[in-house]
């Protein structure tokens, strides 16, 4: 009889021990294995990263499309007709306007208050070429310095550095727009010169003259190729930074 009672009490103790073991392991599982939470965070981070990359690629494609569109429009189109929403006006050169390019390029700089498309991003004071002024005004920028901000969240040094930073980006973008236009013009001239060289060869032009012309074409080809590479680097550096 006693043995039976002892057995029963042992069984009860074992059951209790087993139950508390289950509870303990459940607590330990929730406390030390947050993988599921991490996984969902990781998933969210991956999604955000994907979206970010998508935006960057979109920006690159936009710049590429703008470039392609400019190429398709034809090189003799008047600059004044080119009223797209590019931040910096694109130039289209022909032989006459190319001779006067310095007058067109070196127009005065105008100080503007540049507003961002991004929400809650404080406007910055930058200088823009008067060629690019219209495009900036079209998206809401105003001429003159930005009004002084009353809240003191950022130091004066920070605000000054921020203005310098965006001003540098603007100067970079303007240089890219100008260099790209010269590149487009040079590519057209190269294609035409090659055709003309073939004509000269067929018309039995003296070999020395043809070789001299070939050297000129080759020099332009090499410089154009290098310019293309540097434009690529600059575009990658600047893309989406001043929106």
């Amino acid at each position: 009889m006693r043995i039976i009672i002892k057995k029963n009490s042992m069984k009860k103790q074992l059951n209790r021990f087993g139950f508390s073991l289950v509870i303990l392991s459940a607590v330990a599982y929730t406390a030390f294995t947050p993988q599921e939470k991490d996984k969902s965070n990781q998933k969210k981070q991956e999604q955000n990263k994907g979206r970010k990359e998508e935006r960057n690629n979109q920006g690159k494609n936009d710049m590429k499309n703008n470039k392609d569109e400019r190429g398709d429009k034809g090189k003799n189109e008047d600059n004044r007709n080119n009223s797209n929403n590019d931040r910096d006006n694109s130039y289209n050169w022909d032989r006459e306007t190319f001779k006067d390019r310095n007058k067109i390029k070196n127009k005065d700089k105008v100080t503007i208050c540049h507003k961002f498309k991004r929400n809650n991003e404080q406007a910055v004071t930058i200088r823009v070429s008067s060629n690019a002024l219209k495009a900036h005004m079209n998206h809401g920028d105003v001429i003159g310095d930005c009004p002084t901000v009353t809240d003191n969240r950022n130091s004066d040094i920070f605000r000054r550095k921020r203005n310098d930073y965006y001003d540098n980006l603007q100067q970079g973008q303007e240089q890219v727009a100008y260099s790209q236009s010269i590149l487009d013009y040079a590519l057209t001239r190269l294609a035409n010169s090659r055709l003309q060289l073939a004509t000269y060869q067929n018309n039995n032009m003296p070999q020395a003259d043809i070789e001299r012309k070939q050297t000129t074409v080759l020099e332009l080809e090499q410089n154009v190729s290098l310019l293309e590479t540097i434009i690529g680097t600059a575009v990658n550096l600047l893309v989406n930074k001043l929106q």
Binding site: R101, F158, N223, I230, L237, L238
Partner: protein, 62 residues
């Protein structure tokens, strides 16, 4: 009171640090942009000179 002072001074130092990091990032990007812009300007001028030579060599309209 002490907690308030501690909290505000901590958040201020956090903002300062954040500002410093942002300034460093902006400075380095600015420098890279400036270097690339200068290179671009220099190379564009070379292309322009090569184009002028081409103009002289190919007098006809091409």
């Amino acid at each position: 009171m002490l907690v308030l002072v501690l909290t505000s001074s901590c958040s201020e130092s956090k903002t300062n640090n954040q500002e410093k990091i942002e300034i460093t990032t902006m400075d380095s990007t600015s420098k890279a942009v400036k270097v690339t812009t200068d290179k671009l300007d220099e190379q564009t001028q070379k292309v322009e000179k090569a184009l002028e030579k081409l103009d002289k060599e190919f007098e006809d309209n091409n």
